[in-house]
Symmetry: C2
Subunit: 335 residues, 2 copies
């Protein structure tokens, strides 16, 4: 039985991430992780005419590369679990159509990176596929257009704002030996703290990250020390402070283990990204390029990877709704 | 091993649909299936201020009712698989947040009804949950605003257009005995025939339905006669004709078995819905109210339920992209 505790899963025969790929834009290429990414675009249009097409191109490249690294062909991939931030997930539709692989389309805002890996692992562990692909993407320009203002408007960004990562991370998950085991998962619930500032996603998502991490530790009967790192997706500096405080109020201190992909991906002093990076691509490319190699080399024996999502659209926001959060936790262990 | 053929799954211990609920708007209540729905709203706002909130209310009611019919409490439902048509799936976010159940957010356009039932059944069959909820919704007014024109604009609708169903269908899927077995599934691929008419969704989706049905029959080694009905989601009259023709070209004749939820749900002569009904809610409420009781009573021993989705956003459409389709097939058998 894979069920553990109230809302988690522990895989008896844990699937592995067989291969991972990261493709990013220019700003990410200039950041602290720049040299670790598989591909950095020459410019952020990736040879396309529109920002949305650029994001599709990014996703297609990442998926292609991951399939290649796994020494597979597209026909060896039984299913894809994929998604992005755009309305009706168009980056995914037009990015993945040509592979001709059955697709489970997902939407969990920036938490989709965790949702896709989790569902892919659940499918493999149940024997539904020998190799399954999880892929997500985000693009700074398509996201600004979707959620905030067109770039041409040149709006000022408050210091609480994060910078949407231009990037796509793709993961081939299978039953063979690979870079890391997907040992367990804690799918998250929607948590609504009533945050109404759409330029402060860190504050909107931190309560959801707290809920998922706390429930995960409870379900597995573990402490923060049982993890080398507890890695959130894109809380940024603002959200990190809130998360650590909220968990302390519940008697859990993750200060020593906590890492946030949104903090790691840009240089705060020189890149003017304010609270940090965000987007489905943020946690996905950081996992593919930075975290996975450390697990593979044994520097991390076990991490909890918790992509965080802010659930809003311009419609819900303009109709006065708050921005609830959701966070999905994935346990990754040395294979 | 659950894998069968190139892209299908056959469950050794098939999960069951334990309970189902349908909640619809006034027009659906006046249609041929009107008396079969569990609840018909007094008006299409469902007591809310906006169309989006109305759709959330619809989804919450359907989920509540299905959980109650299954004689469960929300805390007995381990996971929800849910989605809708709106950008960033806001109907689902604000409809399901209060249940406090871990959520896998999905997007497959109108095929989401199939995707959610399929993934819920996969989760139950693998032992990931004893009771899992699949829920989807659509609302005529929120969909028109999202994809076409505000209702106040009073645009003319071409005869090829379908009418988005105001409705939500929810299904509790579990390992116990229920109304119908989810015996197998054929997750679909994106199929792009280059259709660029956003007012002709039937033509955009029919090739995807053809692809999934053909692959399903191939994977399972079956013929159309092995099914009492092959039920597509929302092709309407225009799409039905194309689907039957496309399958005949491949040597498969489903004329006798074919049924389309979009054709069943409205009265063509009196309801002015042109090609028929559409939306995630269309196939979901038709399954819950009309098809499932027929399976339970033994009138249908086995059906193939194939919700169909048109993958577009106003952005992709206005940037000149075609409308690809996707269709997910679910085998439902007498329990």
């Amino acid at each position: 039985m894979a069920q553990i505790g109230k809302q988690s899963l522990k895989f008896e025969h844990a699937p592995c991430i067989l291969a991972a790929a990261s493709v990013v834009g220019t700003k990410e290429g200039e950041g602290p992780l720049g040299k670790l990414f598989d591909m950095v675009g020459a410019d952020d249009k990736f040879g396309e005419d529109t920002w949305e097409e650029a994001e599709s191109a990014l996703q297609k490249q990442a998926a292609t590369l991951a399939i290649g690294k796994a020494e597979c062909k597209p026909q060896d991939i039984r299913y894809i679990f994929g998604g992005d931030l755009l309305g009706q997930s168009i980056a995914t539709t037009f990015g993945l159509a040509s592979f001709q692989i059955p697709l489970f389309g997902l939407y969990g805002a920036c938490s989709t990176a965790g949702e896709s890996i989790m569902l892919a692992a659940m499918a493999v562990a149940a024997g539904y596929g020998d190799q399954v692909l999880a892929v997500t993407s985000s693009h700074f320009a398509s996201a600004e257009k979707q959620f905030r203002f067109p770039l041409e408007y040149a709006n000022q960004r408050p210091l609480s704002a994060t910078w949407t990562v231009t990037g796509s991370g793709a993961f081939v998950i299978g039953s063979g030996k690979g870079k890391a085991k997907v040992a367990g998962a804690t799918p998250g619930r929607i948590v609504d703290y009533g945050i109404k500032d759409s330029q402060n996603m860190g504050a909107a998502m931190a309560p959801a990250a707290c809920d998922t991490i706390y429930q995960h530790l409870t379900d597995f009967g573990r402490k923060p020390e049982d993890y080398d790192r507890i890695v959130t997706g894109d809380l940024g500096y603002v959200g990190q402070e809130i998360l650590i405080k909220l968990l302390r109020e519940k008697g859990v201190d993750i200060q020593k283990q906590h890492m946030d992909c949104g903090i790691e991906i840009y240089d705060r002093a020189s890149q003017d990204t304010h609270s940090g990076g965000s987007g489905c691509g943020c946690s996905a490319v950081t996992l593919a390029s930075y975290l996975l190699p450390r697990i593979e080399q044994g520097e991390y024996k076990r991490i909890l990877f918790v992509p965080t999502g802010a659930l809003l659209s311009t419609v819900s926001f303009n109709e006065g709704h708050p921005v609830p959060g959701i966070a999905h936790g994935v346990v990754l262990e040395q294979a």
